[in-house]
Amino acid sequence: MSKLLKTIKNAKLELLKFKNHPINILLDDDKIEYFNALSILKNIKDSKKALEYFKILLLSADLDKNTDFSKKNEFSEKEFTKIMEIISKNSLALTFLLDFTILALKKDENLKINDKNMLKTFIKFLKINESELENIEKLAKFFIQNDKNQVLEFIDKNYKSADKIFDYLIEYYGD
């Protein structure tokens, strides 16, 4: 890749990072656990788009965009439970499910059976209603299409009382 194109790509990541992603309420060690959980999604590295979103999230969390999480994608039950507890305790369940779904859709365009099963496993631990997955998938698709109006309308309609959980997305389109 040419030097200029590389510079432009780095600038792009900088411009697309979320200013106030809720992950920032976590301590650094817990942030890393959040990314470990996202890395359960296999082969993120094989998809340019998914990898790019992963890097944007890392920058949003103020972590080095070159951090490699690909080696850590298997967990003991104890480890997995601990990560889910961190996410749940910090009210990051919906944010986490959305980030995971966006990554999966960026990777494959449609959710694969394995991804769906993984999401179902997450919601059991996070104590979220399964019907929420459909909403999250819709929101993720609107986001991927950069359909600002649909994203904002959808949040307004479905998450008005969700304690400003997706305010970072509203800010993302409003900046």
């Binding site: 040419s2 030097k3 200029l4 194109l5 510079t7 432009i8 790509k9 780095n10 600038a11 792009k12 900088e14 411009l15 697309l16 299409q145 950069n146 359909d147 600002k148 993302y172 389109y173």
Partner: protein, 340 residues
């Protein structure tokens, strides 16, 4: 580019309508800096000798592989044949279709290829001749930028920054440039013009889209940076294609209900390219041809890169469908046999 004075005058007048022209100096500078980036992205234009080497190398590699055109062409031709009754042949014949353009195109395609054993030797000669000479594509970009800068009322030597004294901006500067484009709400105008400049870089090789992967990457990166909705990206690409084709369909697109781009913002390009709304322009023939026989033509052109004689013959065969009284099926079958 061979511009004459009348043409230059007409183009200058066209650029007076450029939407950026009415903005302040600072906006203009940011806009030009953003647009100027496409000129310096490696592989975004065809001017470097290394590019042609790379392309030739790739093509040489491909020749050893199975040729998809060769394997799929029979199916495609048969598909066209099966649906041929649906076409209003007379209408195409009388109004729109001018197959000679595609015969020219296959000849040009042949000229771009690098095979040393071409029947007429054109390919090798042209490639060799171009190296070391001023590149017409680059001249075209420069002319375009000169007009732009001139119409913006910015000092002429400003253009030197883009071509001769260009310094790679660092990440911070690029972020600043893009942020200002967002602040000034120039995103869609910039995106369209990035495409137009990329096409100029292809020596008037209209309508094919990006030949150079990095120009494509740059365009889509910009779409991401500006958070452009998927549907709007497609609109911009379509409009750029029609403008590049000099097709009157550009007017149709701009006037379509719900089209997110403003007609007035792009009037200068319609004028610059002398695209008339009330008559078929040169590119309209090609647009209509693409709509009717796009896949077939593309395959034959692709095939022609590998087998010049048969490709040319294939196009002549299609021509015969419309310009002489032929038994379509019989002739097409003969055509298929020639390229098996």
């Amino acid at each position: 580019m061979g511009l004459n004075l009348d043409k230059i005058q007409a183009q200058r007048e066209a650029f007076e309508k450029h939407p950026i022209g009415k903005l302040g100096l600072q906006e203009k500078i940011y806009y030009l800096r953003a647009l100027g980036l496409v000129l310096h992205i490696e592989g975004a234009r065809s001017s470097r000798p290394d590019d042609s080497k790379e392309e030739n190398g790739q093509e040489n590699d491909k020749r050893g592989q199975e040729n998809p055109a060769r394997t799929g062409i029979k199916d495609i031709i048969e598909g066209v044949l099966a649906g041929i009754d649906e076409f209003d042949i007379e209408k195409i014949k009388n109004d729109i279709l001018d197959i000679n353009k595609y015969i020219d195109e296959i000849e040009n395609a042949g000229a771009r290829s690098s095979r040393p054993n071409d029947a007429n030797g054109k390919k090798g000669q042209e490639n060799e001749g171009k190296k070391g000479q001023e590149n017409p594509a680059r001249t075209g970009e420069r002319e375009y930028f000169k007009l732009l800068i001139d119409s913006f009322g910015i000092k002429d030597d400003f253009i030197i920054e883009f071509f001769d004294e260009f310094e790679f901006p660092d990440e911070e500067e690029v972020v600043e440039i893009f942020e200002m484009i967002k602040v000034f709400k120039l995103e869609k105008v910039l995106l369209l013009e990035v495409l137009i400049v990329s096409y100029i870089g292809e020596e008037g090789h209209v309508g094919i889209g990006f030949s150079y992967p990095n120009a494509r990457t740059f365009f889509y990166d910009l779409c991401d940076v500006f958070k452009i909705k998927d549907g709007d990206v497609e609109e911009i690409e379509l409009l750029a294609k029609y403008i590049d084709f000099k097709s009157k369909k550009a007017y149709e697109v701009l006037r379509k209900d719900g089209f997110s781009l403003k007609f007035g913002d792009f009037e200068y390009l319609l004028k610059f390219y002398n695209i008339k709304e009330d008559k078929f322009n040169e590119g309209d023939y090609r647009i209509y041809f693409d709509e009717y026989f796009g896949e077939l033509k593309d395959d034959i052109l692709f095939f022609g890169e590998y087998d010049y004689e048969s490709g040319l013959k294939g196009l002549n065969e299609i021509k015969s469908l419309f310009f002489e009284d032929y038994d379509y099926e019989n002739e097409l079958n003969k055509f298929i046999n020639t390229i098996k």
